[in-house]
Amino acid sequence: MQTEATLAQSDVSELDLVKRCQDGDTEAFDELVTRYRTRVFGMIYNMVHSEQDAWDLAQESFLKAWKSIGRFRGQSSFYTWIYRIVMNVTIDWLRKKKIKGGEAEFDDAIQPREIDPASKTVPKTEALPHQAMERDEIRERIDKAIGQLSPEHRAVILMKEIDDMQYHEIAEALGCSIGTVMSRLFYARKKLQNLLRDVYENV
């Protein structure tokens, strides 16, 4: 957990990085990307359930952020600001996908969770085959349940439960009121409780 001093220090250096980006410094932007790429990718992946699409959308989001960094005024944190871009890009993509191909994400588009053996994030103790299968099934159930929510409801529940964002940060990222965020959370939770009760009660 960060202390207030380190938090302030990281905020200052983040603002400094942003200012350098605004002057066209791509290395400063690389630094910001390194800080947030995993969180951004993870959030998008949880919304679209496809690794390739999440990769592309994360790239698109960062590219848009670079193009519009000149308009960042520092009124919110950089993370909230970039989340707004991420959410716009992802929700827009989900809407277009729904128009094009219906709810196809529950068929072949879902990729089973894989861990790259070369990845730094490989768990030290690998799960037993039956445990891995069980986790895949759980993941599939969760993806399916989240897929039944609208893009906006998905965004709200994921930002709240996974990223621990505050209501006002979520509202800022989605460009809506705090009341709307709370209302969406209410319905998203109810729906997921109904769809996943048997899973989380028995895990």
Binding site: T34, R37, E51, M182, L196, Y200
Partner: protein, 174 residues
């Protein structure tokens, strides 16, 4: 004023306090059931966090590298496009239209001046011809004509005679 959904969400997330909390809890018809649902919602939250939060971004360095390449590429394209985008409208809109308009106007004026100048009827001929008098005796000279041309500018008068019979030598004496 908050709706029930908003209050319920705030209560689940422990965001209600003081009077607001006591008022909301007092309004619940079955507090025990509400507490059970709150516990269940918390369990759902923990479950989602545990299952969804650790999805890794593989090849992180390649991700950054690819993004960097795209940024460099886009920046290069923007730099190349800038003079084109910047130059084209300025040359094809206001200055060029202005120049084209002024050119057209000049051509029109020259043309008009030339044509008008050519078509303008001469107010007064430089060589004004006036037949001032012609008195010829038809018996003596049936085809005879006498004309006088007067050039005002040169202050000259020309007497032009045709078809006259030669005058008898004693004519002047008469």
């Amino acid at each position: 004023m908050k709706t029930f959904e908003e209050k319920w969400t705030a209560w689940l997330d422990d965001q209600l306090s003081g009077r607001e909390l006591s008022e909301f809890e007092a309004s619940l018809p079955d507090k025990a059931a509400a507490q059970a649902e709150k516990a269940e919602a918390k369990k759902l939250g923990q479950f989602l966090k545990r299952e969804l939060s650790a999805y890794p971004l593989k090849n992180e360095e390649f991700f950054s590298h690819q993004l960097h390449e795209r940024i460099v590429q886009e920046s290069g394209e923007q730099r190349r496009d800038r003079p084109r985008r910047g130059g084209t409208p300025s040359w094809w809109t206001i200055p060029r239209l202005l120049w084209a308009g002024m050119g057209s106007l000049a051509v029109f004026l020259i043309f008009t001046v030339l044509v008008m100048h050519q078509e303008r009827p001469a107010e007064e001929s430089q060589y004004l011809t006036q037949i001032l008098n012609a008195r010829v005796d038809p018996v003596v000279s049936p085809n005879g004509t006498v004309s006088i041309f007067e050039v005002k500018q040169d202050r000259a008068t020309v007497l032009w005679t045709e078809g006259l019979q030669s005058l008898p030598a004693d004519y002047a004496a008469k």
